[in-house]
Amino acid sequence: MSLLDTTQFSLEAAMRGSMLRQTLLSNNLANVDTPGYQREDVNFQGQLQQAISSGGSPDQISFRPGVQAQTTRADGNGISAEQESADLAENGLLYQTLTQVAAQRESILKSAIGLGG
């Protein structure tokens, strides 16, 4: 049993995934007026779940972004600024939650090894 368990590694992997998703969503929003741009996103939760259930180590996972080619606009751009903004807000809150939980778990660990929490 190592000092940091699977849950802690999963939290940190999810934080990496969330930061990657933030990058992709920002990129979508920056390209809202670029003709022919195709939306990119990453389902990091699904990929993380798949890695854990197949017995892989969550700290080794590298998330793979995907492209969604659907569009309803004449310029071939599939970005909805409202949807991207909503996803950005949701992703920011999720990241905040992950860091809070990770910090709490670390402070429990610190108090257990006598560093105070």
């Binding site: 990058t23 920002s26 920056a30 007026d33 670029t34 003709p35 950005l88 905040q96 860091t99």
Partner: protein
């Protein structure tokens, strides 16, 4: 090119929207200019945006002999960039103003192909996109701050 962070990407969006706003302002300012740089009526300008670090960069790299990334792997997102400012080729408006010094023999003046309503709508679009990019940047900033808080 390295992996751009969300803050840099949002900044590229802010820059692009700012350029679009500048060009829209120039179009509005010259909506009645009958004597442009070449002696002709002013022509409406339009900004062409292009994905940075995407296809354009891969193409430029391929032409310079850089091997393309493995198929199936998307290039690292790099935001947006201004590919250029081009002239709108819509014909000029012909308006009957016999008193105008630039009127032709029949009394018609060629006015720029600028429609102020279109420009105002474009301005709203640019302003809203700018705000969305600012929000994305703020979210990214608060995420980095939360990460730093983990070190406390």
């Amino acid at each position: 090119m390295g992996f751009f962070g969300p803050i840099d990407i949002a900044a590229s969006g802010l820059t692009a929207e700012r350029v679009r706003m500048d060009v829209t302002a120039e179009n509005l300012a010259n909506a009645q200019t009958t004597r442009g740089a070449n002696g002709q009526p002013y022509q409406r300008q339009e900004v062409v945006l292009q994905q940075a670090g995407g296809f354009g960069q891969t193409l430029a790299g391929a032409m310079a002999g850089v091997p393309a990334p493995a198929s199936g792997s998307a290039p690292a997102p790099g935001g947006v960039q201004v590919a250029g400012v081009v002239s709108d080729r819509t014909p000029d408006q012909l308006v009957y103003q016999p008193g105008n010094p630039d009127a032709n023999a029949q009394g018609y003046v060629r006015l720029p192909n600028v429609n102020s309503v279109t420009e105002m709508v474009d301005l709203i679009d640019e302003s809203r996109s700018y705000e969305a990019d600012v929000t994305a940047m703020q979210t990214a900033k608060s995420m980095y701050t939360k990460t730093l808080d983990l070190l406390k």
